[in-house]
């Protein structure tokens, strides 16, 4: 009998303690604004994820050091979607339903972001796309709770198309990944050329699976196109691999190549990267002329002994935009915040920018240039850089209305 009473007493005590802890957690949670970051820490996107996390950690540390927002600390909860769309969607639900996050932040994979965006729409949770470029997110799959903070695939393809069209190239071919990112880039690039530079002949396009590591089957057929310039949209570890494998075939003696040259690719290729390749970057630390970027570069290098990648800068700027929207809304209410984002102007590391009301797309542009050696760095950088504003290449509003779901 005595044993029974003890057990009941211990059970009740445990229950009281558990409830107390839960209440304490809720009390703490009420003092924080929660951001759920669904990144892609595993696989070919791992290094990009590292940059995003660095940018987010930097912003959160800065923001919390200056008191947070409305006196509340900002809390970051991180998940790994492993580049898998179904995993990303499940994690989004878990973050919303179990962790009770106020906002969702995007990773790298277009497929994951599209899946998470659907969940964000279902639960009316604001979703800030930090690095993923696919234009589908703010066009065919647009909804009021999504925003995109960097040039998307339509803008990148058009931007390059503009340069190729006016640079004297007579023919072009393409190699990319066989999923939405690769296809939207090819479409925007080729559509732009067909309409604005019909003198540029469009040759064949080649499609590698995501995660492909051996490009032997592609290189010779690509060279056989005899294109003046090849648009290559392979990314992450695939691009340095392609460059390493294509070089002994004499690929770069035959054709120019144009691609995204983020810092990860530039460092990964090192001095193996040929000079004189045309390309673009969305946030090159060495070419952004703002005083904020200069200060950030010095502090970041001092702390990490490395330069900030494009993904660090994009994550930081996206958080800046989101938190400005929260402050403008005066609340974390999703509808009020997303309303506040429309037309919101703020200054990030990349300088002044705003979110277009029709698609919540940032006006930040892209930086076009040519790879070149620089004695300050052990890797190539882009030189003769031209900034292409977002407004010059984003989808016109009248076209946007045709693409977006009807309300």
């Amino acid at each position: 009998m005595k044993n029974y009473r003890s057990r009941v007493f211990i059970g009740i005590l445990a229950l009281v303690v558990a409830i107390g802890i839960a209440q304490m957690k809720n009390a703490l949670a009420a003092d924080t604004i929660k951001f759920g970051f669904i990144g892609d820490a595993t696989g070919t996107g791992a290094e990009l994820y590292r940059g995003q996390k660095q940018g987010l950690d930097w912003f959160f540390e800065e923001a919390n050091a200056s008191g947070g927002i409305f006196g509340k600390k900002l809390e970051l909860i991180v998940r790994d979607a492993k580049l898998k769309a179904d995993v990303g969607a499940a994690l989004a639900r878990e973050l919303i339903l179990d962790q009770k996050v106020d906002f969702l932040l995007g990773g790298i994979s277009s497929a994951v972001c599209l899946a998470v965006s659907n969940v964000a729409k279902e639960f009316k949770k604001p979703y800030m796309i930090q690095s993923t470029n696919t234009s589908t997110l703010v066009e065919e799959a647009f909804h009021k709770y999504v925003a995109q903070g960097q040039p998307n695939t339509n803008m990148l393809g058009r931007g390059l198309g503009y340069f190729v069209g006016k640079s004297g190239f007579k023919s072009t071919a393409y190699i990319g990944n066989d999923y939405t990112f690769g296809h939207t880039l090819w479409k925007s690039y080729s559509d732009y050329l067909k309409k604005n530079a019909p003198h540029v002949e469009l040759k064949k396009s080649f499609w590698a699976k995501q995660g492909e590591d051996d490009f032997t089957p592609f290189i010779q057929p690509l060279m056989a196109q005899n294109a003046d310039i090849v648009y290559c949209t392979l990314w992450g570890g695939q691009l340095p691999a392609f460059i390493k494998q294509a070089t002994p075939y004499g690929f770069f003696k035959k054709s120019k190549m144009a691609t995204l040259f983020d810092l990860i690719v530039l460092i990964g290729s090192g001095t193996d990267m040929p000079e004189g390749l045309l390309g673009y970057s969305v946030a090159p630390f060495y070419a952004i002329p703002t005083p904020e970027m200069k200060v950030f570069n010095e502090k970041f290098y001092k702390k990490y002994n490395e330069w900030p990648s494009d993904y660090v800068i994009l994550s930081y700027d996206n958080m800046k935009g989101l938190t400005e929207a929260i402050k403008k809304a005066g609340s974390t209410d999703p509808d009020r915040v997303m309303k506040a984002i429309e037309g919101l102007r703020f200054v990030g590391l990349r300088g002044p920018m705003y979110y277009r009301p029709e698609d919540h797309l940032s006006s930040a542009g892209l930086y076009m240039g040519y790879t070149a050696a620089d004695p300050k760095y052990p890797f190539r950088i882009l030189k003769d850089v031209t900034y292409v504003p977002g407004e010059a290449v984003w989808t016109p509003v009248e076209d946007l209305k045709q693409l977006q779901p009807k309300k």
Partner: protein, 294 residues
Amino acid sequence: MGIEFFFMMFVNGLSQGMGIFIVASGLSLVFGTLRVINFAHGSFYMIGAYIAVSLSTLLGTGSLFSFLLLMVLAPPAIALLGLSLEISLFRRIYGKEHLLQLLLTYALLLFLDDTCRLIWGGRYLGVSRPVILAGSIDFLGHSLPTYNIFILGMGALIALGLWLLLYRSRSGNFIRAATSNPRMLGALGVNVSKVRTGAFVMGAWLAGLGGVFMAGLGTINLGMGVDKIIECFAVVIIGGLGSIGGALLGSLIIGVGLTLIQLPFGKLAVVFPYIAMALILIIRPWGLFGKTER
């Protein structure tokens, strides 16, 4: 595009196929001998590549000698890893249902992936090719990378070595006997457990060697093991379980097929290995060189 162009494409395809064969042969050996679906075989390949990168920072790069040293030193490290896993984990699942094997080995793959991330981080790494293998030769008016010829040659040597081992050596006789009738082999006084361990360790060694070659071919990154294991499974199914000759033919079919399909049907390239696999499963489910299960 003349005949020499297509011949060059064929040679490129052979080279790619050999790269796949080196890893797939290990999987075929393990699958055939132990009847274990080992998803972690892809991790052995990935870890072999990472170890090659780490060793190259100590040994230096640029010389053929240092690259050959990587080939000598990295695979035994993977073989040792394979040995420890075989003794501690795999022995417990021999003869168990395939779903259990799949779950365990997939969990092991995820564990090893995350371990690699903790050790090497997420950066894209690689090994510089030796200077003598970094260029190309002019062949029929086209450039053929020397490194691709090297992989082709190494693959052929490995195929020959495996044939000699399996069909011209006592150990090979035991491995083949353990595949067809382990009880009879045990009854003859042979330690079947040691034979199985030997086959598993050899499979891991081959995967590690494949990883070393990959480190020189391109860049290595987390998750590359998963992509490779799916390709290897396709090869094993096409070639037949436990057949090294089948693994060789299956690898070459995939390598050459992927290359030749680019021009006429480039958009089908992604699904080509799986179409080939599906056709084999329909027409000849035991694979090209496999034996029907009794």
